[in-house]
């Protein structure tokens, strides 16, 4: 990437120099960049100074050669040079003030471009460029269960038994730890509430290299039942709930009705993927009368590689261990092995493409802004040809003319950069509205302008200043003295007209690129939203209830309580129907279990039957609007003592009963020996997101498989949020110590599930539109200038018999063919770039004809509008006046 940019920059050098040593220079640049790989800040500094160096040498190489090695510049020469610079800048400022409209336009364009780039850079920098905020993060990995064909899963959650075996027998790691998310009820600290809790094996924090700011991390004995009720809290929880009480260590907190002792407070800069996890507890896997399971897969596994061990070595070692475990446990582990991935890849990989695309789009906007400003300066330079000519005639050297012109563009760009920092500051405040609150481990709300961003904005200003200043500078510094002084700029030289055409084409191309990106992402989002959810989301309110086992010790008590809650919530005014499920679609969390089908033997090499179990109440399908395709829904008659029944989803039928009737077949869950009869088939429901195909599901009635955790769904006729007060009151009335979980309308749950795609769409779309507007302004400016410069010529033509319509047509055709060339180049480049970023697209091909056609149409209309105004002005020129001019 840097390499390509550097090669582009080399175009600033004279052709012979480039041919001679260009490849060597690129090589030297690359090697030195590589040498700085681990130090991004130094590397950025080197890249910036190397870019400035190319620009400076590009200018210097075009000047008559002076003695290189003689130190000619004594103190007087130096102070002379400084005063020249000062007078150049003063001159530039005076010029900017003399054309205020143009200067304001240019400044606003630059400020927008630089500001938006700086703001997006802050995200890219924090997420992609910086290391994960852990000790020696390159040694951190995640270990997954890998499943070979026919299942072909590379990264599956790990079973407790496998994790314990890995921990005991692995060789490549310093330590291994397991993680799982859960929720628990916190009481005794204000209103009871449901909290996200992370359960981790004892070495988790040691592996990350995170040392609690107060107290201690977990000890091995904390994994033993009886010694496990210890708690580590985050800094923000400590401040929020305990008002940063220094004596918090040793205090007890009531979780799920049990007292847990706080043993540690995490440091304030501790970051994890899920920042909402405030409570960290030890994971207890070795239970006294329950052997660790090898069939239920619930854990994410983290590890730190021993110094000197590479990822490939760790992979090979864990693969060997995985195969040993497979041999030892042929039933549960058939086809299983282990797969090691870098933690950085796990945390950053999923967002890399999106961020790169957004950064690319915002970069395009800046480039378009540069082209605009370059063409503005060129326009003004044309009107100053006479001045330049006179100055050259009076003996000003070419260097003086170039430096002065560059001083002007740099003054403009640095001023734009300063304003851009203001824009960046505002944009940073607005970013959390668009982006998800957390990207990878970075809290978007906490981003602020720091030194790196200041440097970035400064570097960007300088580069843009040189970028849009060099072309006009070179163009104006070569005036044909006699011609310039005589004509005073009339009939704008053909060379410059060609340069300006090039600018229009380039601008249209860049805008097309930005629009193709934005358009494709927009179409993807529309395709995503049109995916069938499998349920209706409007007019429905959800709330989760966790029943503490400490106060409701038997399953029967818990079941009765949940049934009571359901009945009372269902009786609230406005509620037309109610149901409950243990895991709400799109709500995160999942489980999967092996299923035995009566009368069916598993053949060798055949993948095991696995479904995703859900526990629901009889009203659930009706309330969610999930269609019953065959058989029947659950009814209250499916009680604890009645015949055990299940309902399966359409995906389960397609996968496991492709050519037979599943109704009345009997199935058995892995781990229990109850035969359950299939009584119905329901429509598929998206659980992991709109882009993820529906999994095979199996539903059991709550009465027959009681749990202590349910999410209730209430269907209403009115605004679901209006029910919240009533729901809280009912729950407080039943048991004041019971927390009502977060009350969320179901459509909000759905919209949260697509928020990262929405952010991508909003940003890419916005940058596309801004690019289009800037390009239209740019085309307008160039065309208007062409008309102004050719007034004389138009007058002559009209006197010779050209009709106004001919003149109009001439300018429209002139403008539109440039647009057409730009569009064709842009479409090709845009579609090609998007094939590289196909991961971002859903349901749309990079060559989507609809999008490409729409982009074409939009640009043609915009450029038509931009050409029409100057062309009409040309048409109305009074020939007599024009010739006399």
């Amino acid at each position: 990437m840097m390499d390509v940019l550097y090669r582009l920059l080399l175009l600033a050098l004279p052709a012979d120099l480039r041919r001679d040593v260009g490849a060597d220079m690129a090589q030297l640049f690359r090697d030195q960049c590589d040498a700085l790989a681990g130090r991004p800040l130094e590397r950025a500094g080197f890249v910036l100074s190397a870019a400035g160096d190319v620009m400076a040498q590009g200018v210097a190489a075009r000047l008559p050669r002076r003695r290189q090695f003689v130190v000619a510049e004594g103190p007087t020469a130096r102070s002379l040079a400084m005063s020249t610079v000062r007078s150049d800048v003063r001159h530039a400022v005076r010029l900017l003030l003399r054309y205020p409209t143009m200067s304001i336009l240019a400044l606003a364009t630059l400020a927008l471009g630089i500001g938006a780039n700086t703001a997006i850079f802050s995200v890219v920098d924090a997420v992609l460029l910086r290391q994960l905020p852990y000790n020696e993060p390159d040694q951190l990995v995640m270990v997954w269960e890998q499943r070979r064909a026919p299942e072909n899963v590379l990264k599956n959650a790990v079973s407790a038994a496998d994790f314990l075996d890995w921990r005991q027998r692995q060789e490549p790691f310093v330590a291994v730890a397991a993680f799982t998310g859960a929720s628990a009820t916190l009481t005794g600290q204000g209103e009871p509430r449901t909290m996200g809790v992370a359960a981790v094996s004892w070495q988790f924090f040691d592996i990350l290299g995170v040392v609690p700011a107060r107290g201690r991390a977990f000890q091995p004995e904390n994994e033993v039942i009886g010694r496990h009720r210890v708690l580590i809290i985050t800094d923000s929880f400590w401040r929020r709930v305990f008002a940063a009480d220094a004596g918090v260590i040793g205090r007890k907190v009531d979780l799920n009705g049990n007292a847990w002792e706080i043993v540690g407070v995490l440091p304030p800069d501790f970051r994890y993927r899920d920042q909402s996890l405030d409570l960290w507890v030890p994971l207890t896997l070795d239970l006294p009368n329950e052997p660790p399971s090898r069939v239920s897969h619930n854990y994410e596994v983290f590890a730190r590689m021993k110094p000197g061990v590479t990822l490939d070595q760790a992979r090979a070692a864990m693969d060997r261990l995985g195969k040993q475990l497979e041999e030892e446990n042929p039933q549960a582990n058939r086809g299983h092995s282990a797969w090691v991935t870098s933690m950085r890849e796990e945390f950053v990989g999923p967002v890399r493409e999106s961020l790169a695309a957004i950064f690319g789009a915002v970069g395009l906007v800046l480039l378009i802004a540069c082209v605009n400003v370059a063409s503005l300066i060129l326009t003004r330079a044309a009107s100053r040809r006479r001045e330049m000519g006179i100055r050259a005639a009076l003996g000003a050297s070419r260097l003086r003319l170039i430096t002065q012109s560059l001083a002007e563009s740099l003054t403009l760009s640095v001023a734009g950069g300063v304003l851009g920092l203001g824009v960046a500051f505002l944009a940073l405040q607005a970013l959390p509205l668009v982006l998800p609150e957390q990207v990878s481990v970075v809290d978007i709300g906490s981003l602020s302008l720091d030194l790196r961003m200041l440097l970035f904005a400064l570097g960007l200003s300088l580069v843009t200043g040189v970028l849009f200043g060099l072309l006009p500078a070179l163009a104006v510094s070569r005036p044909d003295v006699v011609d310039a002084v005589n004509q005073g700029g009339r009939g704008a030289a053909g060379v410059r007209r060609r340069v300006r055409r090039g600018l229009v084409i380039g601008e249209v191309m860049l805008a097309t690129l930005a629009l193709v990106g934005g358009g494709l992402v927009l179409r993807s989002f529309a395709a995503l939203l049109s995916q069938p959810l499998g349920f209706a989301a409007d007019h429905r309110l959800t709330t989760s209830i966790v029943v503490p086992a400490s106060r409701y010790p038997t399953p029967d008590q818990r079941r009765v309580l949940l049934e009571d809650i359901e009945a009372r919530l269902g009786a609230l005014p406005g509620v037309t129907s109610i149901g409950a499920v243990n895991l709400l679609p799109l709500g995160g969390g999942d489980s999967r279990t092996g299923i035995g089908i009566e009368g069916r033997e598993r053949k060798e090499g055949e993948p095991p039957t696995r479904m995703h179990p859900r526990i629901v109440t009889p009203g659930y399908f009706r309330t969610m609007g999930i269609r019953v395709l065959r058989g029947r829904d659950f009814t209250p008659a499916d009680a604890a003592a009645a015949e055990p029944v299940v309902v399966i989803s359409d995906a389960s039928v397609r996968r496991y009963f492709p050519n037979e009737d599943p109704l009345n077949r009997r199935v058995q869950f892995g781990g229990d020996n109850i035969q359950r009869t299939i009584v119905g088939v329901v429509d598929d429901v998206r659980h992991w997101g709109l882009a993820t195909p529906a999994n095979p599901m199996i539903y059991t009635p709550q009465a027959q498989t009681s749990r202590n955790f349910l999410t209730f769904v209430l269907k209403t006729t009115g605004d679901p949020a209006a029910l919240a007060g009533g729901v809280r009151a009912v729950i407080a009335e039943i048991d004041p110590l019971l927390p009502a979980g977060e009350l969320r309308p179901l459509d909000e749950v759905v919209s949260r599930s697509v928020r990262s795609q929405r952010a991508l769409m909003i940003l890419m779309g916005a940058f596309g539109v801004v690019g289009l507007l800037l390009a239209a302004i740019g085309i307008y400016g160039v065309m208007a200038q062409l008309v102004a410069v050719r007034t004389h010529e138009i007058g002559v033509r009209m006197t010779l018999g050209a009709r106004p319509a001919d003149i109009l047509g001439h300018f429209l055709v002139d403008g539109l063919w440039q647009t057409a060339v730009g569009i064709i180049l842009g479409l090709a480049a845009g579609a090609y770039l998007m094939t590289l970023a196909q991961k971002l697209l859903f349901g749309v091909k990079p060559w989507d004809p609809m999008t490409l056609a729409a982009v074409c149409g939009l640009l043609l209309i915009a450029s038509l509008a931009a050409c029409l105004i100057p062309a009409r002005r040309a048409m109305r020129i009074d020939p007599v006046q024009a010739i006399r001019q």
Binding site: L17, L28, D31, Q57
Partner: protein, 110 residues
């Protein structure tokens, strides 16, 4: 070409470093950079500045093209003038160092 080599003094540090690096054998550009960085503790060298300096040194007759070992790479070697200029610069620096020593800015053996 300068008539009196003394007119070229003092040399820019990079020019002197290139002359030193070429004093034992001809080298191509990249190997020159490596050699210079080896002696200066890995100081970063800006490519465009470096190659322009080489061109200027060619024009001044301090270095010249050497027969190429690798057809893709341009090799350079010292000219007689280059060697003279390097020696003069070294002498100039030596006198300066001596001066610094007599004024006790440096210990005897640096």
């Amino acid at each position: 070409m300068a008539s009196d080599p003394r007119n070229l003094l003092p040399l820019k540090p990079l020019v002197f470093q290139v002359l030193l690096a070429l004093s034992d054998s001809p080298r191509h550009g990249w190997s020159l950079v490596r050699e210079i960085q080896r002696h200066t503790g890995g100081e970063k060298i800006l490519p465009a500045n470096f190659y322009r300096t080489l061109r200027a040194m060619l024009a001044d007759g301090l270095i010249e093209d050497a027969p190429r070992a690798d057809p893709a790479r341009r090799d350079f070697r010292l000219t007689a003038l280059g060697r003279t200029v390097a020696r003069l610069e070294a002498g100039r620096l030596y006198l300066l160092m001596n001066d610094a020593r007599t004024r006790r800015l440096l210990r005897k053996e640096p």
